[in-house]
């Protein structure tokens, strides 16, 4: 059976989503995978709104509380050796409990370190990235932060990216 995208949404929100029109990219940008997985360097990118405590600030939830039609468009860096208890979460649209128990459900840094050790992938990059997914206006992502994170990943010789919107 195909995945039901609306199964876990409240009915009113599911109905609203299905009325929205979006523009489909044409053509869809495409970079073919250039080498076998076991030679690729990976980076991970989530939209779960996580950050590393005492290293970077949380996402700006206070401004979103004042301006509900605004979502913090910036990003945070999650180093591959971040410990679970260093992870904070500032996403006002999710119950963050399970993420604070196991970050791998939204940013699988520890799983990818295992895949690296097993030789399934070439390597996991030193730096991974977290955005906060509530973005009524995606302009800043498109014009500024998306290209910026792409450059940072290229600087770390990344070949392939696993995206895990939350």
């Amino acid at each position: 059976m195909p995945v039901d995208s609306f199964k876990y949404l409240p009915r009113s929100i599911a109905a609203y989503y299905q009325t929205l029109r979006v523009e489909r990219a044409d053509p869809i940008p495409w970079t073919p995978l250039s080498k076998p997985l076991n030679e690729c360097r990976f980076a991970l990118v989530t939209t779960a709104g996580i950050y590393v405590k005492d290293r970077e600030a949380p996402f700006d939830a206070e401004r979103e509380k004042r301006e509900p039609m605004w979502g913090d468009p910036t990003y945070r860096r999650i180093l591959r050796d971040a410990w679970q208890d260093q992870i904070g979460a500032s996403h006002l649209h999710l119950n963050n409990r399970d993420i604070l128990e196991d970050v791998n459900i939204v940013l699988p840094v520890h799983r990818f370190a295992e895949l690296e050790a097993q030789g399934v992938i070439g390597s996991l990059a030193p730096t991974n990235y977290s955005f906060m997914g509530y973005q009524p206006d995606t302009n800043e992502w498109r014009e500024r932060y998306g290209p910026e994170v792409a450059r940072l990943m290229k600087d770390e010789a990344v070949d392939a990216v696993l995206l895990t919107p939350a």
């Binding site: 949404l9 523009e23 649209h93 990818f112 990216v161 696993l162 919107p165």
Partner: protein
């Protein structure tokens, strides 16, 4: 959309998403659909096997996709009843936008009541 920006910059991407509906509408380069509650893209906390099975499916898609827009699903049995899971992922306090929409709806309902001759003065 982030995936598109990364592909434009010369990175190959694969996305795991609980909303393949949107992935298809937007034109996601490679999308793996998975039926999980929000905030649980790779499964249940501590469930190593479930997390790895979703990741391996994503890696296969990345390796095998030959053209942009390729999508497939991975079968996952979520351990909670869906009514329970639908509540469980949501924040304890409603998000600011939900709060604002509820307040507006209440204000409109109140205004409608006060303008309705059947209820006026009652």
């Amino acid at each position: 959309m982030l995936a598109q920006k990364f592909e434009e910059a010369g990175l190959s991407t694969v996305m795991v998403t609980m909303m393949p509906y949107w992935a298809e509408k937007l034109g996601t380069p490679r999308a793996l659909g998975v039926e999980v509650p929000f905030g649980h893209t790779l499964g249940v906390p501590g469930d190593h096997e479930m997390q790895m099975s979703i990741i391996r499916a994503a890696l296969s898609l990345l390796e095998q996709a030959r053209e942009p827009g390729e999508a497939r699903d991975v079968g996952i049995e979520w351990p909670q009843p869906s009514d329970e899971a639908r509540k469980d992922w949501q924040p304890l306090e409603p998000s600011p936008i939900i709060k604002m929409m509820r307040e507006r709806a209440q204000a409109q309902a109140q205004q409608a009541r006060s303008q309705d001759p059947a209820t006026r003065g009652s």
